[in-house]
């Protein structure tokens, strides 16, 4: 959690889209920005990209006011995936409330996915976060491409970890809202356990998730 100010009745949460370089983290946020209801969120800030590669991060802010008047901001970040930007990843990862790990489904990317996930584990430990309790979802992106890891293989590898796994094509715009929705859900549960969002502020999970994942055109479903 970035900030919780009881006096100002304000809470700022941080979600981080992590993953190897070019796995589609920024595309995920761009699509969320396009798909989701404009009311209750800000614009996507794409910070310093060079040749379509993120150097710092992207930021998509949301905000909800709980019935109690508590203002909750949810800021979704991406990290740069390239190995050399590890310091930036650590900096962005600080005080994260939830992480979506965006893996590249293409078979040759298996090693990069593995190394990036290991890097996530190391950096979480570095910034003092516990991977066992931190809300975490995994998305296997680029399902629209050929030469990709089979779904059954992915399930057999990730199933035992208990981490929710989603298949998606950020480019075609499917699977990413489910990823985000589940992460938001887990983040609510995690935050509610400590800050009693429902009990003290009258904000329940359905309301929270519904507000954050409301599509701009609710009638159109893929």
């Amino acid at each position: 959690m970035i900030e919780y100010d009881e006096f100002d009745n304000k809470m700022i949460l941080k979600l981080v889209y992590y993953g190897p370089a070019l796995s589609g983290k920024t595309t995920n946020l761009l699509q969320l920005h396009d798909i989701l209801e404009k009311q209750g969120r800000g614009d996507l800030t794409v910070l310093d990209t060079k040749n379509d590669r993120t150097i710092f991060f992207d930021l998509l802010p949301f905000f909800i006011t709980a019935p109690s008047g508590l203002k909750i901001k949810l800021k979704v970040f991406t990290v740069p995936g390239q190995v050399r930007h590890d310091a930036t990843r650590k900096a962005v990862l600080q005080r994260a409330d939830g992480v979506a790990f965006i893996a590249d489904s293409q078979l040759p990317e298996e090693t990069n996915n593995f190394e990036s996930f290991k890097n996530l584990e190391d950096n979480l430990r570095f910034v003092g976060l516990d991977i066992e309790t931190l809300p975490l979802v995994v998305q296997f992106n680029k399902r629209d491409l050929k030469n990709i890891a089979g779904e059954s293989d992915i399930r057999s590898v990730w199933g035992p970890t208990g981490i929710p796994v989603f298949l998606a094509s950020a480019l075609e715009g499917w699977g990413l809202l489910e990823t985000f929705g589940r992460l938001v859900e887990l983040t609510y549960e995690h935050t509610d356990r400590r800050y009693h969002l429902k009990e003290k502020h009258g904000l329940d999970k359905e309301m929270f998730v519904q507000r954050l994942t409301k599509r701009a055109d609710e009638t159109v479903r893929p």
Partner: protein, 436 residues
């Protein structure tokens, strides 16, 4: 937050909310406000969400009857500030476009400043974090450096200890080498001593027999004298004299004594040579005549010199050299013995001594098989031997090397396989030597 136990960097958390005052400074917005004033805006201001005026241009009271606009500026989907503008009622409808343009410009300034600030913050955080990590790395390096320093200290002690042990072991080996060379000599020396001792013993035995015959003769004479000798006595005395071959005995006694004395002298000389070579009484440095020490060494090696060998002493007068004569003899001994042990028929060994400007030169030249090129560089190494296992200690020339270098001297070998070898020793002179 309490769920964050990791490293913190000056509370600079990426994503923390920023106040409008942090994002937009006066210098960021004033150029826009001044341009607005030029277009005919009578008053323009930036207010925080609560309505407090942060920066302004123009005066509200100047035009009491005027149109105005108050419009929020959004950041991250929330109102971050608002722009307030006032202008004269006389402006036409087209002026509205200018108002919109000014507002859009203000929005742009805010967005760009916000992005720049985020970038700067991230950069700062990364730099701070790298710095903290560097400090941490530095601290760890220091720790390990200390550890290694301690290790190095104790290592130095261990090395010193081992060096002492090695020195003692080396000294012991040098001592043993002396004993070994004496041992090598022992068989020959034993033979040398045994020979004269053998005939001295046999002579003494003979002499003992001669004495008992002479005693018998004397006893007979004394008895005859006491009672007064008669012709019979004289006859018996003559018989006895002849039977005991006393004429021969008297002649032989002289030879016996002369031979025995010579033998004893030989034994005495051998013992004295060994004593001289070993310098039992001189375990310290004295002024030494190198030529004399070479002779001593050759003396103890006499029995090792084959009959057909020729030793040529090409000595020149030398100044006294201050050294431990026992050591220097040992050094010569090992070189000479090596030459003698080549098993060469018709060995010729030339020993030359010469005074150079500031050195004493001693060279040993033989016509033996020489030192093969591949081993030439190693012959002074300890434990290096070309002899069969158990025959050589490999210490001989190493001892020579150690002794010569300990006096600041040098030793070199020149050799051609099959054409003999020349060992050249140079001992440095201090310039205070006196001729001997």
């Amino acid at each position: 937050m309490d769920d964050c136990k990791g490293i913190e960097y000056n509370g600079n958390i990426i994503g923390a909310d920023k106040d409008i005052r942090e994002i937009i400074k006066k210098s960021d917005i004033m150029p826009l406000f001044q341009s607005a004033a030029k277009t005919g805006i009578s008053y323009i201001a930036l207010e925080d969400p609560e309505g407090e005026v942060l920066y302004q241009c123009g005066d509200v009271s100047e035009f009491p009857s005027s149109s105005s606009l108050k419009k929020p500026l959004y950041l991250e989907g929330e109102i971050a500030a608002q722009i307030v503008m006032m202008w004269s009622d006389q402006k036409d409808d087209g002026f509205r476009d200018i108002i919109d343009l000014i507002f859009l410009s203000a929005e742009m300034v805010l967005k760009n400043k916000f992005r720049a600030l985020l970038a700067i913050d991230t950069h700062k955080t990364v730099v701070n974090q790298s710095y903290e990590e560097l400090l941490d790395t530095n601290r760890k390096l220091k720790q390990s450096e200390n550890k290694y320093r301690e290790l190095a200290d104790s290592l130095e002690k261990t090395v010193q200890q081992r060096t002492e042990e090695l020195k003692r072991a080396h000294a012991k080996i040098l001592h043993q080498e002396k004993i070994v060379s004496v041992g090598q000599l022992a068989a020959g020396i034993a033979h040398e001593i045994n020979n004269p001792l053998g005939f001295i013993l046999s002579n003494i035995n003979t002499f003992n027999q001669y004495v008992s015959r002479m005693k018998e003769m004397l006893v007979f004479y004394r008895g005859a004298l006491e009672k007064g000798p008669d012709d019979n006595d004289r006859k018996r005395a003559e018989e006895k004299w002849k039977r005991h071959r006393l004429d021969f005995i008297f002649r032989d006694i002289d030879d016996l004594i002369k031979e025995s004395l010579e033998g004893a002298e030989r034994v005495k000389k051998i013992v004295s040579d060994i004593k001289g070579f070993s310098h039992i009484d001189e375990a310290y440095e004295v002024e030494t005549d190198i030529n004399k020490e070479l002779d001593r060494t050759l003396n103890v090696l006499t029995h090792e010199i084959p009959d057909d060998a020729e030793i040529i002493k090409n000595y020149h007068s030398l100044p006294a050299f201050v050294c431990n004569p026992s050591d220097i003899c040992q050094a010569f001994f090992n070189i000479i013995l090596n030459a003698l042990q080549t098993g060469m028929k018709g060995l010729k060994l030339i020993i030359t001594t010469r005074r150079m400007t500031d050195h004493i030169l001693i060279s040993f030249s033989d016509n033996g098989p020489g030192v093969p090129e591949d081993t030439r560089g190693r012959i002074f190494e300890p434990f290096f031997t070309t002899k069969e296992v158990g025959k050589g200690t490999g210490m001989g020339l190493n001892v020579t090397y150690e002794v010569i270098t300990s006096y600041g001297g040098t030793i070199e070998v020149e050799s051609e396989t099959g054409k003999g070898a020349t060992f050249t020793i140079l001992l440095p002179l201090t310039g205070e030597e006196v001729d001997v």
